[in-house]
Amino acid sequence: MFLEKILSQGKKEQSVIESINRHIRLLCTACETFSTALKNRDANLMRNIIELEREGDFVRRNIISDIYQGAFLPYLRPELCRFVEIVDRVFDLLEDTALQYLDTEIPEQVKDECARVSFLNVRICEMLLITFDAMVKGDDLREKTLAIRIYEKKIDDIKFDLIRDIRKLPITNFWEGKILADFVSGLTTISDIIEDASDHLQIINVSMRA
């Protein structure tokens, strides 16, 4: 395939592709860790997110450095870097949300819905990885990006209910309320950024075909 040829024409390119794949896999692991920790109320496991975010930073720096050391045609470099930066934003947000979790007690009334969102975050992340692999192979991304939009819409639907539900909860002080609101906001925004990442893959895909 044409795209496969562009993306795997040299060792540097191959190395970048493998690293981006690893970066997204790492994000999937982080989302899964978050989901399991939330479900099992495991604060120690939740702390692992901080380590995973650091590892993600390390992989991101290597990818960007490899790209600007000459991998890929110049017009593709900023687009690939932009994609990697978007994935990195998800890592950052996931870490912030994990820290908020450690700083607050999630009320029983919203626990199940939060767990459901975190599970869907794992699924949407897996879908991003599938979409990236499909792009490398030169496959059509239309069905993959639609699946991501479906997941995002599902999370959005839950988000409105969660916001409605947390408004009803008694809050004893400002910080308790703020941290809980930030936690819900972070948890439900992860899918928005993953959707941005998938849209960007579509842009890269189209620009390589042009």
């Binding site: 199940d112 819905e113 599970f119 879908m127 599938i130 069905e143 699946a147 639907d157 209910d161």
Partner: protein, 134 residues
Amino acid sequence: MKLEEFMTTKIKFVDADQSLYDAIEKMVDRRIRSLIVKFPGDTANYGVITARDIVFGVLAKGINPKDIKVSEIASKPIMCIDRNTKIYDASKLMEQSDIARVFVCEGDNIIGVVSLIDIMDASLIMRARGKHVS
């Protein structure tokens, strides 16, 4: 892929003796297309009303929804399935029974609802995931 992953857990209830207008208000406020109707008696005595029932059975006929009770247009019993049912099995059941939604039940409790649009979403995701379906 199992139903659990795609079901909507936003289940709202209305008492059978409330007015249909109360039910409509709830559906509008919550942006939902159906409500579970609780009939008096044992806990598992449920029915369902849908936007379709309300529009075709009441509003389109010029009937005032404040004048009738939910119980008058509710369908009973509801169709319940297990959370581990596969998507295509649920879809087959809906086709055979000519219904647009099935309820996911655990004992006497309703824990979710799966509508045709959920089945469509699930099918599209399965296509996109290809061999990665779990």
